[in-house]
């Protein structure tokens, strides 16, 4: 797998700073699970965070705070919930995505969008939404534009749009400037993970009417 489309510096910085909506973090965590290059870059952005904190104006701790902390540690710190067991990769699904689906691909609750295209919305907080998209080989996603940012990560197959080809592991970052009509390549059905922080803007009336029903 050769990944050609990576996480931008600004998104990686926002992720390392903990500033992204959950749905975007999910897409990036999934890409990072597939891409050592971006994982190494994330390490360097976290190092920037470390340097910022190291340099931060100190705020005095209250008297006795060290002893309180020690006491908590020695009591076994009941405030710490045990770490949930981490999922492992299931086929084409990296671990962070398995957490949100609650299993492998067979656990996905697909809903048809017409023309063989299917989606499954994943549970995240509402400032952005995440969904899995299934596009049959050769089929297209309705022509649309974006009000905010749309991240699309390919998990299986490949799609092309006006900008380029996107294969497994590739991340497309689309914003207001891009109107596109992604088409799945022939060969394998295309499965993507997509997140948006604003509803998409469909260019054809029928798709616009259908939009509220499908929460695209």
């Amino acid at each position: 797998m050769t990944i050609r489309h990576h996480i931008s510096d600004s998104l990686l910085m926002a992720y390392s700073a903990g500033q992204l909506p959950e749905a975007f973090s999910l897409v990036l965590a999934t890409h990072l699970s597939l891409c050592d290059d971006c994982r190494a870059r994330l390490g360097s952005f976290e190092a920037v965070g470390g340097a910022v904190m190291e340099d931060c104006a100190e705020a005095s701790m209250t008297d006795g705070s060290f002893d309180q902390t020690m006491a908590r540690i020695l009591q076994g710190a009941p405030r710490f919930a045990p770490e949930p067991a981490r999922s492992t990769r299931q086929g084409i699904l990296p671990a962070p995505l398995v957490d949100y689906i609650g299993g492998d691909l067979s656990a996905v609750k697909w809903r048809p969008l017409g023309m063989g295209v299917k989606q499954a919305i994943l549970p995240t907080e509402k400032s952005a939404s995440a969904r899995l998209l299934f596009i049959p080989a050769g089929a297209n996603v309705p022509d649309h534009g974006h009000r905010g940012t749309e991240l699309t990560l390919v998990l299986q197959g490949a799609f092309r749009d006006e900008t380029d080809r996107f294969g497994v592991g590739d991340l497309e970052i689309a914003n207001e400037d891009l109107n596109h009509q992604p088409v799945a390549e022939m060969g394998a059905d295309c499965i993507c993970l997509a997140a948006t922080d604003a509803p998409l803007r469909f260019n054809r009336l029928l798709a616009r009417i259908a939009q509220p029903f499908f929460r695209i």
Binding site: S10, A17, D36, A40, G43, V48, V52, M53, M61
Partner: protein, 215 residues
């Protein structure tokens, strides 16, 4: 302050050596010499390993005195009240103790590792949201990481701090705001003034080291 820290490398090393046999006497000599804020990242790493291997309370206290007020300051800059920031800083330090076995000095400096713990604590406490993490890499913390690699990784954070300190005030303030959480992701994306190029050139070495380690 940074310059003074670098000029006193031999003193800092000496201070770290005192921890080979920590006792209250050594603690006093160390504090008396005023080196608490000047110890460099590689010395902090040695202390975390003492916490990991020996549950060394004196080493932990030295880490606490240095990092806890910075974590608290960082969280207050991020919008936490003094009370909440105090509680979270204690949480972060307790996590450092409990997860010391996960610290790998060849992958991150102590400051970077503490930052990631504090960031996650901030997300839990302030945003009540989740931040999905990448899946674990097959390589975990090594029992005996390569000494040279580890040393260089720790020094990278010091160099990065120097690079940040050398930035023009306005640019440094922007980067700080991004990490304090004062810029939304779209503001970060739109902020053309972010001097990422400058920083990236300084940390290219660190990046190469991480890549080398992962492939």
């Amino acid at each position: 302050m940074l310059d003074a820290g670098y000029a006193k490398k031999s003193d800092a090393t000496h201070a770290a050596q005192l921890y080979v046999a920590p006792d209250s006497d050594a603690m006093h000599r160390r504090e008396g010499s005023g080196l608490t804020t000047e110890t460099k990242q590689d010395d902090w790493a040695a202390l975390v390993l003492r916490v990991r291997d020996h549950k060394d309370r004196a080493a932990f206290e030295a880490l606490f005195r240095h990092f806890a007020p910075r974590i608290k300051g960082f969280l207050m800059k991020s919008g936490a009240s003094a009370g909440l920031a105090e509680e979270c800083a204690q949480d972060v330090m307790a996590t450092l103790w409990q997860k010391a076995h996960l610290f790998d000095p060849a992958r991150a400096s102590v400051a970077t590792w503490v930052f990631t713990i504090a960031r996650n604590k901030r997300i839990d406490a302030l945003r009540k949201a989740r931040r999905p993490e990448p899946e674990d890499l097959p390589w975990g913390a090594e029992a005996e990481p390569d000494q040279q690699e580890a040393l260089e990784m720790q020094q990278d954070t010091d160099r990065l701090g120097e690079a940040l300190a050398l930035l023009p005030e306005k640019q440094r303030a922007l980067i700080e705001k991004a990490y304090f959480g004062d810029l939304s992701h779209s503001e970060i994306a739109a902020e053309t003034g972010l001097p990422l190029g400058t920083i990236k050139s300084r940390i290219r070495l660190a990046l190469e080291r991480l890549r080398h380690k992962m492939t």
